[in-house]
Symmetry: C2
Subunit: 196 residues, 2 copies
Amino acid sequence: MPKVGMKPVRKQQLIDATLESIGEFGLQSTTIVTISRIAGLSSGIISHYFGGKQGLIEATIMHLLEQLRLALLAQISAKPIDANERLKIIIAANFTPFQRSTPAIKTWLSFWTESMHDPKLRRLQNINSKRLYSNLLFSFRQLLADDAAQVAAKQTAAMIDGFWLRCALSTKPEAEFKQAEQLCKSFIDEQINSLN
Amino acid sequence: MPKVGMKPVRKQQLIDATLESIGEFGLQSTTIVTISRIAGLSSGIISHYFGGKQGLIEATIMHLLEQLRLALLAQISAKPIDANERLKIIIAANFTPFQRSTPAIKTWLSFWTESMHDPKLRRLQNINSKRLYSNLLFSFRQLLADDAAQVAAKQTAAMIDGFWLRCALSTKPEAEFKQAEQLCKSFIDEQINSLN
DNA sequence: TTTTATTAATTGAACGTTCAATTAGTTTCT
DNA sequence: AGAAACTAATTGAACGTTCAATTAATAAAA
């Protein structure tokens, strides 16, 4: 069975399996056995490629953060867009199907919980949190005075995260997510049109 | 040591110890031993009063929800207040020192994570989520048209939860919480004054 | 072209630890 | 005495890690 050059393939395979396991059982009940069974590999392989269970969990979280970053990058660098449009894209990137998925939701929640104790994860969390704010501020600055832009960026960031959280925890996330994305976009229009 | 009528005293003692243990070690690393040691009691007493560890955890979460409910009730039923003032009180109730405390933060995060798998907790979570929205809607209806009131209530609820989350996860929560409360209140004023 | 050596990939059983729950026994109050 | 409160020790299951063994691929040597 063993082929050469399996390393990147196996690592991705195990990260996908981890997301799937967390989606099904939650992080609490995710063991190296549930992960390796989903991946169709042995349990020992996790320590071999990630140094242990914790290493795999951290890699999975980094994958989550990277997905969010790439979702933005993919749409923004495509063509020249105005500030208003850019703001709407930032919102959309936070509500992609991947971010709405059960595995992603459960992993995000576990990530936040764990980040309270793990300095490594806390650092990642803060980078991610500030990135959303910075991205919003950059665009708001082109539409509002500096003071107003800062306030708007903070309020928008909170509204995005808050809606995401409330939808993720709701009983019917699909419909709620859709409406939430719309209400975030409305808020931005309100902010900009309040110049009247 | 054993005295008669200790039941309610011990139960509260154990709930407080659970909050403290979660605050120090997190739910993941909180065991019946860490809790009972903080409470100054034996580990067996947990099963005696709560049927097991899970029962105590659930009771602790219910205590958390109750604290939030009471924080509102205490201030609202005091004197007659206008709608605007009432909205500010709702916000303040979500940012009390207790809700900003590390034990409360860690327990809330763990609660949300657990509620994804535990139907009992999920039910509690939804009741709590809807209560915030209902309270906001009630007051907004006295200031805005029905459609606008619904939108404003949803946006405000998201902003409260979002700010709370972002502050809870930040590196310097004290200062951020203070500013967040202010920004939530500003948002409400903006919503109301947009009638011009 | 075989043969031999070496490396990469992978397995899965054994081990030690952790932890919740149980149980039997002790103390105090009525 | 008997009920209520509580302790401390024990049990057994679950889990992550480790590691010796195995298999396959590649490289080197003959």
